[in-house]
Amino acid sequence: MMAGLVVMMAAPATAQPTTTIDPVARTAAEAAITMRLADLNARVTLVNQTPSIGASDRSALLSELNSTISGLQALNTTITNETSVTAFRTEAGDILSTYRVYALVLPQVHLVRASDEMTAVVIPAFQQLETDLQSRITAEQQQGKNVAVTTAAMTDLANQITAMQTDTSGVSATLLGFTPAQWNADHTIVSGPRHMLGSAFSAAGQALKDVRAVRAVLS
């Protein structure tokens, strides 16, 4: 699909000026929009069905998704009715440059969803586990059981929770602030938040190992 869009947007230097829009190019542009609309609508459902997404983030995501959907629907109508070859080429290019559905919008949705799941569910769950495991350790210690083997894992668990908090702090807000124009100017803008969430996920994986190690010691 990307190749089709590129071909119809770039006129060969030696080509004769055309006066009519290639119907294949028009169909390709319309199909590109249809595919994006389907993926965007699926994300609207996903956002609405994800309870861990915070209210303000949900509102921002839905606003972005719905404005992108309405913009592409209008563009689709324009492209379908376009008679100017020059205008058509510009409009076909707008499918990519104005909306950046795959490069930016869908990653924003999934990364904000991941970030909010971490901050609203995963981190509080680890904090609760930390409290509950420590309580069990103390109780078993008072009963004479040697629980020294849990010390290192509990210390690391606390460190991993701190790392998760640091790595997810402000990530959703940063992601939601990005626009297609910013992406057009800098294709790497999503990389920073993506890297932070990857680090948070790694910390969570290590925290889960710590929890399981302590749990195995408790009877």
Binding site: M1, M2, L5, A32, D39, S52, I95, L96, R100, V101, Y102, A103, L106, P107, H110, L111, R113, A114, E117, M118, V121, V122, A125, F126, Q128, L129, D132, L133, S135, R136, A139, E140, Q143, V190, R194, L197, G198, F201, A204, G205, L208, V211, R212, R215, L218
Partner: protein, 94 residues
């Protein structure tokens, strides 16, 4: 006391009570019950607390800990899926 004993014990107690009353010459009740209350056929669910997973008083039980761990594991699977989907969309470009 196991579940079966819990079920039949009241019936034995009732029968024993009646026998003792008869042997001791106790005055016959003016309104003798004509039916013996039916023994319960089920035992309340609360009597089936699994003792093996019950932690010391006030502590989170083993089963509760395991549920918490499973819950956070499920959440991490969702996070992992979202990271992968973000990467997949970005790789598609446009």
């Amino acid at each position: 006391m196991n579940a079966r004993l819990r079920v039949i014990a009241p019936a034995f107690a009732l029968m024993a009570g009646l026998s003792l009353a008869a042997c001791s010459g106790a005055k016959t009740p003016t309104s003798t019950p004509t039916t013996v209350p039916a023994a319960p056929t089920t035992v309340a669910a609360s009597t089936f607390n699994p003792p093996a997973t019950t932690a010391p008083s006030g502590q989170t039980s083993d089963s509760a800990l395991d549920q918490q761990i499973q819950g956070v594991s499920n959440s991490l699977n969702q996070v992992n899926g979202d990271l992968a989907n973000a990467d997949k969309a970005a790789a598609n470009g446009g």
